[in-house]
Symmetry: C2
Subunit: 551 residues, 2 copies
């Protein structure tokens, strides 16, 4: 509500009205933000939109501009006279005060109101933080009053905070009370909360409530699971999340509708916006553009296996975002060499196999793919031409050059037309694994089929955890693979299209409420730290309460 906007925003009520929402389905948060009540799901029970996934090649330090392309594509559909909605996830406040800033698109293809979006927004992350920490307080309270036979060594439920705070990575709590309460634990950043994962996957209030109750926080002394339901916390957690489950309606630079809703981590969770937002969007719009974080090996894989399974939706087509300079990184060039090097067809050529693998993965999922070449001023016509030609040869339905950062929706018209042509047929999505497969086979399927791994090895600890999950009956859950985004493999240094590598499963974690098993293939940092010079120091307000310096 408190932004310094350079562009003129449309009243959100006008946008809600154009989407066919009834006034009583729209809860205003100031003039430019609104929550949509879930009543709309009962009123409009049939999805009608073309549903478009935006994914990308493996990310590089350049940034491929997936959010910018998603926003620009939504704008382009609007210019074609279609009712379009973009659905993207909300960013955490940690990076806003840290080093990265908020991910809200950019240039002429950005989400507004900014910086509201990057700060409290409509309070959903705070609701997740509070619900999560309420359960933590109930756990420690049960230890203090000794009201449950909970083995403190087995407690896996951390606390969370939506800030980068390194000092909270490892701590000892409960000092100064009884010895029963003293234990080591940690804070994660809020997007890593299982409560966030649940909010992102829940279909409605009943589903939300049930998933919260199923959260497993530890074990009894006899080895049985202890759930949020056992602790009497699930109902109160749900009460704290009632408003947070309602999608947030905002707008793009061109006044197109966007839902910015939930912000789950991209490794131990889906990294995609909410199921509920998409369920609402496909009922209201002609075309829905949704973004999944990272590449087809990570973001799209989870989008398909976790989010689509939860929502029952499947995409009509996918946009694979690539850029010349990012592919040069995949070809082994350094960022500095690329920035200063000019045309380099050989480097581009060396990086193309990365693109090919992502196209292959989308084909495996049965989804038509359009390659979006996000153009940058340093790209040469010959480089663009070579990339387009290679993408076509590798099986892309179509290729389009986009310039949405500078031109807005106008710069995405070619892509929008290509996507509409590709999205004619009903979805033919097929998963890479089935739920009734053994857990190892699920992991093997993803690693071999989508990453291109030659072998999968389970560490001794992971094997024990596997046996335990089977014993407790959690082996029918889907998996959530946690690995680096930078490589198709689990090794961030293996660029391009690595082959015949071995993937090692280090650890399994049960997210019974979110409804999956996290499979860790590497160290996952769930609490970022601040750098030597945090961005916080450059943020301020003026005497009128206008916010300065948030980016």
């Amino acid at each position: 509500m408190s932004g310094t906007q350079l562009i003129k925003l449309r009243p959100i009520s006008e946008i809600a009205n154009e989407l066919g929402l009834l006034p009583e389905e729209v809860e205003h948060y100031g003039p430019y933000k609104a929550k949509i009540t879930l009543d709309v799901l009962a009123r409009l029970d049939t999805p009608r939109a073309r549903y478009i996934l935006v994914t990308g090649i493996n990310p590089t330090p350049f940034g491929e501009g997936k959010t910018t392309v998603s926003v620009g594509l939504g704008q382009a559909f609007g210019r074609l006279g279609l009712r379009s909605i973009v659905t993207v996830r909300q960013s955490s406040m940690g990076p806003v005060f840290g080093t990265k800033g908020a991910g809200a698109g950019g240039g002429a293809a950005q989400l507004h109101p900014f910086p509201d979006l990057a700060l409290h927004f409509t309070g959903d992350l705070h609701a997740v933080t509070t619900a999560h920490n309420l359960l933590a307080a109930l756990i420690d309270n049960a230890l203090y009053h000794d009201t449950l036979p909970l083995d403190p060594r087995t407690i896996t439920w951390p606390r969370v905070i939506d800030l980068n705070d390194r000092a909270l990575r490892q701590l000892i709590v409960g000092l100064g009370e009884t010895t029963r309460t003293v234990r080591a634990t940690r804070f994660d950043i809020t997007p890593a909360s299982e409560v966030m994962a649940i909010l992102a996957l829940a279909r409605d209030y009943r589903d939300l409530r049930q998933r919260l109750g199923q959260i497993v926080v530890g074990r009894t002394w006899q080895g049985q699971v202890v759930t949020a339901e056992d602790l009497g916390g699930a109902g109160a957690m749900a009460a704290l999340l009632v408003d947070a489950l309602k999608p947030n309606l905002v707008q793009t630079s061109e006044g197109t509708a966007a839902f910015v809703h939930t912000g789950p981590f991209g490794n131990i969770a889906t990294g995609a916006s909410s199921v509920v937002a998409d369920l609402v969007a496909v009922r209201l719009a002609d075309v829905v553009v949704t973004e999944a974080g990272f590449g087809t090996d990570l973001g799209a894989e989870k989008f398909f296996h976790l989010k689509c399974r939860a929502s029952g939706l499947a995409p009509h087509a996918a946009v694979l975002v690539a850029s010349v300079r990012a592919l040069k990184v995949q070809g082994g060039k350094s960022v500095r060499d690329i920035e200063t090097g000019g045309e380099d067809l050989a480097a581009l050529e060396a990086g193309l196999p990365n693109l090919f693998k992502h196209l292959e993965n989308l084909r495996t999922f049965g989804v038509p793919a359009v390659v979006a070449i996000n153009q940058f001023p340093t790209d040469t016509p010959r480089e663009i031409e070579r990339l387009a030609q290679a993408a076509r040869e590798a099986g892309a339905c179509d290729v389009a050059v986009v310039e949405v950062f500078t031109c807005g929706g106008e710069g995405g018209l070619e892509l929008a037309r290509a996507v509409l042509r590709a999205a004619q047929e009903p979805p033919a999505f097929r998963p890479v694994y089935e739920l009734d497969w053994p857990l190892e086979r699920k992991v093997e399927a993803v690693a071999r089929t989508l990453y291109g791994a030659g072998a999968v090895r389970f560490s001794p600890a992971a094997k024990r955890q596997l046996d335990d999950l089977v014993r407790l009956g959690y082996d029918r859950l889907p998996i959530c693979m946690a690995k680096t985004a930078q490589s198709l493999s689990a090794d961030p240094n293996l660029l391009g299209r690595p082959e015949d590598f071995t993937v090692e499963v280090r650890e399994l974690r049960l997210f019974a409420g979110a409804g999956y098993i996290v499979v860790l293939l590497g160290d996952i940092q769930t609490m970022p730290g601040l750098g030597r010079h945090p961005r916080a120091a450059h943020i301020d307000i003026d005497e009128h309460g206008r916010i300065l310096g948030v980016s």
Copy 2:
């Protein structure tokens, strides 16, 4: 936004309109909540309302119903055709999941929308939590990167969370990094945050920004103060608080306007609602009813010395809430005896000196007092009569029996008329101490004049802290006395009107941003715990997302 309301609420836009607010000054949070932008302070630069303080005798386990009387009085003014606004503070979420529930009035004199008010409301407490913890993260980050010569032993800035979480009272953070980062610290509950105190006292954005910068978090190795400004955190904290500084407009059971804004602790902070809300309210209304927590020794004392000093406002009259049964507790009767005992004029008589002292205190401040007898079904006519007569004899301008819990505004008409008669003259408020007095003299003045203490003693630690504060130039600040609310003294067991007791000052704490020195007269618990059976277990939602069990 998600409440189960039994009464029909009015659209908040209608109430805002009746107050003369312009549409662009009102930021909606759903249909029943709104924030008022501070632009209204510039548009209407003259206070016009009668400004009425509601305070009470020392609280007892019965609850005197101060909030209920405040709300009912506002409703009564409305029935008299006056434009009235009630200003009260927001409750914390800790008690909602703990044992106490939220303080939002009751019966036919309650604040709505409920339970929104008791949960996230408009996110202000979350904003305070985040701004507070951002500064904590910057402190530990400075230790980690060694970017400031901050002596870790001197750090007084805790973290905060808006939950009752006993396990966070004492903890060790920063493990697993460098040894520089390992230190003992604590979490307080959010109302105890100095950021909350600042938000409650700031007059505008400039004042907010400046106060945040002045927060002292610790000392350098050379003994100089380290501020939030030094850490580069004050601007970002202000950015997080931009919306939180805007008063929240809600309504009472009868559709009267109410501002529910900020929730500072009643011992280490003012315990009253915000300066900004009152500055706005007195410009919009004919009469403003504001509540200060606890009795004249604690809540009203801070209201006068801290809040009125910050706002520049002074009350035209005060309402002193008393009840027959509470005065019997002050007379030494047990709660059980009172509940079962029937008429007991002797017990009432024994408790009256407590009332007399509070009337004397209001006289000392120069404020006309009306005693409001909050009537309960167990009261007998002779008890009511005796209480009324004694109050008149002790110097009350007037006495009125109120029945707002059962009758709403109708049950407060007599009180409203009495208050209007008492509030004819311009305010003649005078403080008990001046800012240029030495700190010890300020403490003496409050303790002797308002508590009735015979002597004040400073502990050796407090004496050292006193010298240090003088050395650093903070001795011109007002004081914020932190003591039990249950007694006029610092000993909760001394009921009635204790005299000739000695008050011991244990510790002084510098709240440089809030602009006062906290003077601790006893142990102050700044992080409540949960009981054996937390209320959280009785809270739930239904399939439509309606919240159940919050009280």
